[in-house]
């Protein structure tokens, strides 16, 4: 046995065990890509709903064109947007979970061990707090704050989660926070920021992660 390389191997062993015991490393790059695509589709559907709402609003102000029976009210728009958001979130989550599940199966790593539990809790906590705040903002009629709020709290959740999984998640988080803060001052373009953050950034991040670790 080559005794010169033994200490090096031991050190690498130690590093590997430390990583594996404290971080969940099976997060798949495809998860990011799929979540991003879901977000882009969601944003596109929401955009077209908003578009038709504006058409009806314009029609309403020009007598004669307005037809009571096919009017699209703001309450309907509101419900539609909520439904779109929920469906998008579920689709993104399920697809992301699917790819991570496949990867952890391939690596032979259990999907529900201590590292995953810690990762989940540390992601859900900031997101849940943000969710409550945004629900209240909706109640109070501050609709403009929803998109930047989503981005900021999601970004904070990611920065927090990066300690328990791939460290690069941190940069995705910074990106989301940056977009969210920018959005606070460009308040009426929320949907575009939302699509850029949840769609484009996710796809970019996922592609980079896939390139780096899974190829």
């Amino acid at each position: 046995m080559d005794s010169q390389h033994q200490p090096l191997e031991t050190l690498q062993d130690i590093k590997r065990i430390m990583e594996r015991s404290s971080r969940f490393i099976s997060l798949s790059g495809w998860s990011g890509v799929s979540a991003g695509i879901c977000a882009l589709i969601g944003a596109w559907v929401a955009h077209s709903r908003l578009g038709s709402f504006i058409v009806y609003q314009t029609a309403r102000t020009h007598k004669g064109v307005y037809n009571e029976y096919n009017a699209y009210t703001s309450t309907e728009l509101f419900t539609d947007l909520i439904v779109i958001a929920v469906v998008t979130f579920i689709a993104a989550f399920v697809s992301a979970f699917f790819f991570t599940y496949i990867r952890s199966r391939r690596n032979g790593v259990p999907l529900w061990d201590r590292t995953v539990q810690r990762l989940t809790w540390n992601t859900i906590l900031p997101m849940a707090v943000g969710g409550i705040m945004l629900l209240r903002a909706l109640q109070m009629g501050y609709y403009e704050l929803v998109a930047p709020g989503c981005l900021i709290f999601y970004g904070l959740a990611l920065v927090n989660a990066s300690k328990y999984t791939l460290g690069e998640v941190r940069y995705l988080g910074y990106g989301q926070i940056f977009l969210g803060i920018l959005n606070l001052w460009i308040i009426n373009e929320g949907l575009y920021f939302w699509a850029a953050g949840f769609g484009v950034l996710h796809i970019l991040y996922g592609a980079v992660m896939w390139w780096k670790y899974e190829r």
């Binding site: 010169q4 200490p7 031991t10 130690i14 430390m18 015991s21 404290s22 061990d113 201590r114």
Partner: protein, 99 residues
């Protein structure tokens, strides 16, 4: 010249003990089952190594319960942290010495 192996800690010769220490360095508290899962060893084997580490004062044992099931967790002591760091340093010096 000083023998570089002199600074290596004999207790960490075993892969399992070294692994347990590595895990406890980065995790505040780890249960027996989690250690077993991460190290991929049998109950008896792991238990005897843990007893050894405990007798040397490198780890602390906390016996607890989840419902009626026993839940024993382990954490590293100050002495254990120091010994482990010195061991790693010795390893690093050996590598530097070779180059």
């Amino acid at each position: 010249m000083k023998n570089p192996i002199g600074n290596l800690n004999k207790i960490f010769d075993s892969r399992i003990r070294l692994g347990v220490m590595s895990i406890l360095m980065v995790n505040e508290e780890v249960s027996f089952n989690d250690l077993k899962q991460m190290m991929e060893v049998t109950d008896g084997n792991l238990a005897s190594h843990l007893v050894n580490l405990e007798e040397n004062g490198f780890i602390k044992v906390h016996k607890g319960f989840i419902g009626r099931k026993t839940n024993t967790t382990y954490s590293i002591t100050k002495a254990g942290e120091k010994a482990f760091r010195e061991h790693i340093e010795a390893l690093e010096n050996m590598i530097k010495g070779v180059r």
